[in-house]
Subunit: 111 residues, 2 copies
DNA sequence: TGCCATACCTAAGATTAATAAGTATGAAAA
DNA sequence: TTTTCATACTTATTAATCTTAGGTATGGCA
């Protein structure tokens, strides 16, 4: 049993937005699975964090939603709005600056 | 006026510990100045976050304190304990894993 | 039948940083 | 000389964001 990577608080929205940017549209559960897949199980987005985050981003006008019934189950597909695309760029710049600054301070070893 | 970099929550203790590891011992105010200097003003540790964090790390046994009076002012010098050194390694490994995973997900552009 | 994966949801709690306010010294500027 | 600024510490309140822990429901498989 591998140790779960804890999320640094503030990074979740960047993850969501970037995945939506890359994939066009996704539904919540799909996002959790994608993150698990990409990080080989090291990161696990909890649903208790994910869904409220999606709702907030929608309320903020960064995401649009489409409901679809697939195999008897409801899926809510999210995609970035125009404003969401801009916000994605902002978030990414912030994240990159953060990592750069952390690099300077703590001398990260990234293989 | 440059935009201040917000801290991703969870990163503060890693910053403090790594600076103490590099510099042997430091006092609170010195840590804030060091971070400002290294990041060219982009990061600004708020004192309301820093001091409580130092107190908690001391309470957790990761830091030792020495009080000194310099120029009529009290300074509290902190240094890592044995347990603090181990914790520093853990924190750094976590941080590196986090950045690696973020790399895989969002494709960070680091100059 | 019961369990598991899928797919959504929310309430309560914990953690952690920001904001804002305070105390105090000493040096430099007005 | 009075005020302002940098130094140096402190704490309480607020805000943001995640975890934990529950809940509902469908459909496939053992």
């Amino acid at each position: 049993m591998k140790k779960q990577q804890q999320l640094y608080k503030g990074s979740l929205s960047a993850i969501i937005m970037k995945l939506l940017e890359q994939n066009g549209r996704m539904y919540g559960y799909e996002i959790t699975q994608k993150v698990k897949e990409i990080t080989v199980g090291e990161m696990n987005l909890t649903e208790g964090a994910l869904y409220p985050a999606l709702h907030k981003m929608e309320a903020d006008g960064f995401l649009d939603v489409e409901m679809e019934k697939v195999d008897g189950r409801i899926r809510k597909y999210y995609k970035l709005t125009e404003s969401g695309i801009k916000e994605t760029d902002n978030k990414m710049e912030e994240l990159e600056n953060f990592v750069r600054n952390m690099q300077s301070i703590v001398n990260l070893k990234l293989t």
